[in-house]
Symmetry: C2
Subunit: 180 residues, 2 copies
DNA sequence: AATTTATGTCAGCCATATTGACGTATCTTG
DNA sequence: CAAGATACGTCAATATGGCTGACATAAATT
């Protein structure tokens, strides 16, 4: 139980090590790191959300509604890439429990513009706090330039074709601040 | 349809913009970028896997079995953080369809050590190719130092406490090559 | 007046996750 | 050797969160 071998003995050990970064070809290491990093990154909020009877979907909705106040339901669907029915369930919960409120659009009264209530703001800030702590810790021993490199990388990982409105905003901001 | 406003008119537009990076406190931007980056990062393989009748879980199993040949079932459970029952189904499929094979452990014959077959290697390489393409593109305009910064960041995002065996291997390799 | 759009909702299906219990082979230990 | 622990597999029941398809309503557009 205390050894690091994946198999369990010298005879197996040779082939039980990481496949070695001999391939200059494929980015196995980064693929793997992204998996673990994201796994742990969402684990913090997930744990917290359990206490509320919410899931990851609720967090995503709260996050984007907070970040883009007045977001339309249709925009939210584009961003989350889920169906109206799936969104409907979580959105209804968040409305019923007072985390989000809807306002009828001024110009187009069919629209329901979404806003986070103070209660919703509190929740989303709490969750962002957990994730921020992890991010700050990860950025700790690399200066502001390092943080910019990371942001640049993440932005470049995102599909540019057919961006939804939230992404347009991000890229617009990103372009302006790429060298900031 | 061509405007960037989230709401739809001047009267709403003011509050329908990104909440502004005024907060020096919380890392909203990186939180969001991680969401989108990961979303698109897994979308490529997900799409490909559909053709095989496989899901994301199959990909993960194939990836780790490929990377750490001779992995035990118990180790896989630790890494994926799912239950034996859930793993059982996807593993059975992969075994039945010839993507993975089991060998009884030499020393402990209770163990079933997992290996990717050539067929499995082909699949996992194909999927890694898609993800590598995206990663290389994202790293394109930043030198090797940039790639190291990114790796450093991702490693630092991962929980250190209670690492499973795969993570131990990653951190061991990472420590050695942090300045490589 | 007819059509399209934005939203909501009902009904049912599927994939993937869960917990709990149990069985079997095998290793370890008293 | 007998007893217990371990590695793995599997059965059953359940929950969550996606999905499709169909349909309804209100409001905008043509």
């Amino acid at each position: 139980m205390a050894d690091i071998n994946f198999a369990n003995a010298p005879s197996d050990a040779a082939e039980a090590r990481p496949a070695a970064p001999r391939e200059g070809d494929l980015r196995w290491d980064i693929i793997e790191l992204l998996f673990f990093a994201y796994r742990d990154f969402v684990a913090d909020p997930d744990h917290e959300l359990e206490a509320f009877g919410f899931g990851r979907a609720h967090h995503r909705v709260m996050h984007f509604v907070h970040r883009y106040p007045g977001l339309k339901v249709a925009d939210l669907l584009d961003v989350l890439r889920i169906t109206k029915q799936s969104l409907g369930r979580v959105l209804k919960q968040l409305l019923d429990e007072g985390y989000i409120l809807q306002k009828t659009g001024n110009n187009d009264r069919r629209q329901r513009l979404l806003y986070a209530t103070p209660k919703g703001e509190a929740l989303v800030a709490k969750l962002a706090g957990l994730q921020t702590k992890r991010i700050n810790q990860a950025l700790a021993d690399m200066g502001p330039a390092g943080a910019e490199t990371v942001k640049h990388f993440l932005r470049a990982m995102i599909d540019r074709d057919d961006p939804d409105k939230v992404l347009e905003a991000i890229f617009a901001a990103g372009t302006a601040s790429t060298k900031e």
